[in-house]
């Protein structure tokens, strides 16, 4: 059973994928244990582990102690989406970046933002609305609430030159967050900015970030009509 040597974990991964594709290991099938595979492939168990663990992270395999490793029954596609800083995204598109502050005020957040930022006791937050431009045309409207409890320094920032988006990433790093993508109808104001009509479909990202247990900020990004998020899966 000594195949012509699978030396590196990527080669083993490819071989495992081949067997899955060839239906030698159909969905739900429990594949041999790491020790057996290591013996078959003529390599150390750690190498097999690396290959199988990576496939499990990709959603191809399901692994459980004692139960063993099986081919996933419902092969979900797991896509990784990069969400860069808006300025960087515009510049990488080859466009000139522009920025304009729309409004800035301290207020008690409305229900949706309050639930994310201060679910216990309502506290005043900084509300900033700003427009990001690509080649002088509106690209994204940033509607953000910043917790002054977690980031009191934000109160001293005018945000007339630097966007909250950019200021926060270099000032208040987060430990974890929460993102949602959706579609919405452009408000009258948004329609004016994006030079389209009220009710036009726009792509929306809602994101909230935390530093450990403390909420930092929650933001709604409304993109100009036609915006798409694009990524690859597999390979």
């Amino acid at each position: 059973m000594s195949q012509p040597q699978f030396k590196n974990w990527q080669a083993i991964q490819d071989e495992v994928l081949r067997r899955i594709h060839a239906r030698e290991w159909p969905p739900g099938h429990v594949i041999p244990g790491e020790v057996d595979l290591a013996a078959e492939f003529g390599c150390a168990r750690a190498t097999v582990n690396r290959a199988l663990r990576t496939l499990a992270e990709a959603g191809i395999l399901e692994r459980r102690r004692k139960a063993g490793t099986r081919v996933a029954l419902h092969p979900v596609s797991r896509a990784t989406v990069d969400i860069p800083i808006i300025r960087q995204e515009i510049e990488e598109r080859g466009s000139a970046y522009g920025y304009r502050l729309v409004s800035r005020e301290t207020a008690l957040p409305p229900a949706r933002a309050r639930i994310m930022l201060c679910p216990d006791t309502p506290a005043p937050c900084l509300h900033v609305r700003a427009l990001h431009l690509a080649d002088d045309s509106a690209y994204t409207l940033e509607d953000r609430w910043i917790s002054l409890t977690t980031v009191p320094e934000a109160a001293d920032q005018a945000f007339d030159r630097i966007s909250p988006n950019e200021w926060l990433v270099t000032t208040a790093p987060f430990t974890h967050g929460d993102i949602a993508f959706g579609a919405a109808a452009a408000t009258a104001e948004e329609a004016g900015l994006f030079e389209t009509e009220t009710g036009a479909p726009v792509f929306v990202i809602d994101r909230t970030t935390w530093d450990h247990a403390r909420a930092i900020t929650t933001v709604r990004l409304v993109y100009a009509p036609g915006y798409r998020i694009h990524t690859g899966i597999g390979g």
Copy 2:
């Protein structure tokens, strides 16, 4: 320099993240090499490698041979999105799944689909449109083109009971793919199915999958108004 022992790679990862957050290692800073860190943390180099490699995959660090490891200048949030089979998605929501075939025909694909499926020479493809229902109300409209060159068996499938979505994942596994998320205006037909008005904003997923070099299928999924994709980052 012997800290109170960092034994597992997750603890090391936490400590590295702490130093980044505390600005001991600011963005762009080149951090010590693996051997140094292993000595400082009192563990094997492989353990440090595991911790740093994982952080690099998350986009927090940038690693290059000889150049060393540095804190990423532009901290992109890298979100992983699971795209399950539609039936599974509906059932996991706790709803009853329903399916209805809308149309099925063999034809030459229009420009957008042809570019994805058969960029060289136009070839007839199977065009299937089907509706996925959650608790008897429209959830997703699946508009799919299947390459009969790559998947000739599809010609024998009626798709009146099983959706192309479900049939393909168990029949024609893919090696890699391409996904885009966006917003669009509902057509008159979509508006009727989703019980909304023409032009209403709907969430759209365009996905194309390949088996090695051969294109399998390209699909547009139009979701009922209010649909959102939700995921976490970090953690």
